[in-house]
């Protein structure tokens, strides 16, 4: 089967649904293993940092969460673009399913950023450049979800939200640059930035493991959400009807004779 036919086959919701169903348990398993190893490394094996002590362990949650929040937004925008330009239904479903997951990671990044910041800077909320950019990213996610929720027609909803996501993705570097500049202007020089020192290998291992774990986790729950979305959108098809209510097998002769 050449590549084009292959893509077309799996881009159809009817083929994607069972495929996703088979993949989910595998991805879930890999996630569990990665999380277990990552948590073990992060909480037990990695030594406390020279300056930050044990609070550095928050980094193993915060950095992967922040990365996921931005990565998922890009995935959402790209999928949206594909749906917009080539009318690929699966891409629309993918984009819509990404949003709540991305928003969750953004919230996690903000919360852990705050929890990491309090012992370091002494304040629960510091308007530093990255946290502020992360907050604006959260608003972008919420806007995306609110727009989709307000439009009943799934096609229009997907296309409108895709435009919004693309406008957002173009603006994110601009927003980040503006906030970065704004922050250096207003922040007194004495405040230590959560800078980017070269990271020690013993801290890098749990970080990468957790990063990987979050990525595979994302794929797992994304597939779960996509399956639900597909069932709803494709409810007028016979294959969904059969999935929801499997046709009952014909009664056996013995049962018919009894009755």
């Amino acid at each position: 089967m050449d590549i084009n036919k292959y893509i077309h086959k799996y881009a159809s919701p009817k083929t994607f649904y069972p495929l996703a169903g088979r993949l989910i348990p595998w991805f879930a398993g890999v996630t569990a293993v990665l999380l277990a190893v990552g948590l073990y490394q992060g909480l037990f094996v990695a030594p406390p940092d020279y300056q930050q002590g044990d609070s550095v362990r928050i980094m193993f949650i915060h950095v992967p969460a922040a990365w996921m929040s931005m990565f998922i937004y890009v995935v959402m925008a790209v999928a949206g673009a594909m749906g917009l330009v080539w009318n690929v239904k699966i891409a629309e479903v993918l984009a819509r399913s990404c949003a709540p997951i991305g928003a969750s990671f953004t919230v996690l990044a903000l919360a852990t950023g705050s929890l990491w910041g309090k012992p370091m800077w002494g304040t629960w909320w510091a308007w530093d450049a990255r946290i502020t950019s992360e907050l604006i990213l959260l608003f972008l996610y919420i806007g995306f979800m609110a727009l989709q929720a307000s439009i009943d027609d799934p096609k229009r909803a997907a296309r409108a939200a895709a435009i919004l996501a693309l406008v957002g993705v173009v603006n994110i570097p601009i927003i980040h640059f503006s906030v970065e500049w704004w922050n250096t202007l207003h922040q007194p020089a004495s405040v230590t930035k959560m800078g980017k020192p070269s990271i020690h290998i013993s801290l890098l291992i749990p970080l990468l493991l957790m990063m990987l774990a979050f990525n595979v986790y994302f794929i797992t729950v994304l597939l779960m959400r996509m399956r639900n979305e597909i069932l709803e959108r494709e409810r007028h098809t016979s294959w969904v009807a059969e999935t929801v209510e499997p046709p009952r097998p014909a009664p056996s002769r013995r049962a018919a004779a009894k009755g």
Binding site: L147, A160, I163, F177
Partner: protein, 226 residues
Amino acid sequence: MSATLLSATLCVVRRDLTVALRRVQDVLTPVIFFAIIVALFPLGVGPEPGMLAALAPGVLWVAALLSTMLSLPRMFANDYADGTLEQLLLAPQPLAVLVLGKISAHWLLTGLPLVVLSPLFALQLQLPANAVPTLVLSLLLGTPVLSLLGAIGAALTLGLRGGGVLISLLVLPLYTPVLIFGAGSVAAAVTGIDTEAYNSLLGAFLVLTLTFAPWATAAALRVSLD
């Protein structure tokens, strides 16, 4: 006879201005809203002139932002309701340019009055006189950007319930760079710092937005009207 692009666009601008000026309250609402915000702030934070002056650049800019957001639903809603918008989509001229005409009309009715009246409000908030020209310039460069970006939000939410609040949610993240640099330029002027870099950046935002916003708005209109 098909009109030239420029004359078609000017026709759109002229029409929008005429229609809007027949409903003067629509035009006055953003200005009145601005005035209310400017009046409420000292009531909230106290009349001490030093503090007001320090807050003034930010307050004036946030007020401009909020007033613009208030007027956004109006940009396409009326034309959508009476079918004029569909006619615009069917016109032979490129939609993005006609949309630019509508956005220009919107700015003339919303942004320009704010620019013109801003010295008055600046006075109320004790902004030092030397910063007022910077304020006017920053608003002159910034309010068109607000209209341009707002148009995208207005086009995406055409006909939806939730209207004004939803638009605000959508465009708020996009407005933050303009706010940061607009207010920043005025704050710099107050302390005597040269504002050339700010003005260049604001100008750059304007050029960038002028290039892509009408096109994104046109795409959004097509999505909303199909």
